[in-house]
């Protein structure tokens, strides 16, 4: 086919309007969320002493950290769905959860402790954390990738990794209400490891499915 003919065909389709990537991402995540919530309800559930735990600032901090990861990751993944975009100027947003954790660790250090540091760090739920967060992330990661496919990321592996962080952040928000380990040291080690695993999977999947 001649390029002029092809151009005429494309121009004839000008009236077609695609939905914005943000809309598709939100829709996909909303459709996948019930699956992750169902996994949470059947396998984990909210911890029984949640009403007491809510008075502990370190319990509340977990949600600030996980949402502090998920929300910037959503913003960055939408940014990266534009072909000319790069991480530059946005990557610092990912330091928000890190900063919150550092502040939490420093705060905890100043409080009198009943448990030694190593015990707080290892907790009781490390294995559960490492498996549950990735498991609940999977439906969200698949959804995020489907939504982002609507965009045009020219760095598909990076976009996939951010999609991984986004889904891990959301899954960890659920998990945080189950887990009885509230020490920021525990969160820094185990939540981060779980998120890194999902990010790696996202990068791998993204480099395949997010190419356009």
């Amino acid at each position: 086919m001649e390029t002029d003919q092809f151009i005429r065909t494309l121009a004839a389709d000008n009236a077609h309007r695609a939905r914005p990537v943000g809309f598709m991402l939100a829709l996909a995540l909303l459709l996948a969320a019930p699956i992750s919530i169902a996994i949470f309800m059947t396998e984990l559930g909210v911890r029984p002493d949640v009403m007491i735990a809510m008075r502990n600032p370190l319990f509340d901090l977990k949600f600030a950290v996980t949402l502090g990861l998920a929300i910037p990751a959503i913003a960055i993944s939408l940014h990266l769905s534009r072909p000319e975009a790069s991480l530059r100027g946005r990557a610092w947003l990912l330091l928000i959860p890190v900063g919150l954790l550092v502040a939490g660790i420093a705060g905890e250090m100043m409080m009198p402790q009943r448990m030694p540091m190593a015990m707080r760090m290892m907790g009781k739920n490390s294995w559960n954390c490492l498996t549950s967060i990735p498991l609940m992330s999977l439906p969200l990661l698949a959804a995020a990738l489907i939504g982002l496919r609507h965009g045009a990321p020219t760095r598909p592996a990076v976009a996939g990794a951010i999609a991984g962080l986004l889904s891990a952040g959301l899954a960890a928000t659920l998990y945080a209400s189950h887990c009885t380990d509230d020490s920021p040291l525990f969160v820094a080690i185990w939540y981060s490891t779980a998120a890194a695993m999902v990010a790696a999977l996202g990068a791998l999947a993204g480099s395949r499915v997010l190419r356009f």
Partner: protein, 181 residues
């Protein structure tokens, strides 16, 4: 160079607000620039430069299907060159060559007029055959017979809406097939 890019941005804004003629003009205006960059990329990869048309059409199709990711408040050229660079790298890789393509290769390209000798593009045409019959008929009617949407609707006894749907699905199907090859 600057003027040219401002003109593209203006045309694309008009296109998005529904001006089909502006969109046609924009695609025609960027094509020589894309072609020159594709030829340069092919030459650098040690491939014959006259194979550029398939790459040009591949880029144009991506521009068309991803244009909703362009931010109408941003200049159009950086967006276009990012898409083009991505597609060019992909095309050269499919031909077995890894070539570094710089974004400036596009920005600094002066369109070579008149159009240089080129092997006619064949990929789109080949993939057209594998589309569902209805989509293929509509695409061919508009591309080859240069019929309007209205005429095409009359010819196939379809509604104009159905023609538009078939046209868009056909184009979207082409990109899936071109990538899968």
């Amino acid at each position: 160079m600057r003027e040219r890019e401002d003109e593209w941005t203006g045309l694309m804004r008009s296109a998005i607000s529904g001006d089909d003629a502006a969109y046609h003009r924009l695609l025609k205006a960027v094509t020589p620039v894309l072609r020159a960059a594709a030829r340069r990329g092919l030459t650098r990869a040690g491939q014959p430069a006259d194979q550029s048309e398939d790459i040009v059409q591949d880029i144009l199709l991506a521009v068309h299907l991803k244009r909703h990711t362009w931010d109408a408040d941003a200049p159009f050229a950086p967006w276009l060159f990012a898409i083009a660079r991505n597609k060019l790298i992909d095309a050269l890789r499919r031909r077995g060559r890894r070539v570094f393509v710089n974004i400036d290769d596009f920005a600094e390209t002066i369109p070579s007029e008149p159009a240089p000798e080129a092997v006619p593009a064949s990929e789109v045409e080949a993939q057209l055959k594998s589309l569902p019959a209805r989509q293929r008929d509509v695409l061919q009617s508009i591309a080859v017979d240069s019929a309007s949407i209205k005429d095409t609707a009359k010819k196939f006894a379809m509604s104009e809406g159905a023609v538009r749907v078939a046209l868009h699905r056909g184009l979207a199907g082409l990109t899936a097939k071109l990538r899968g090859q």
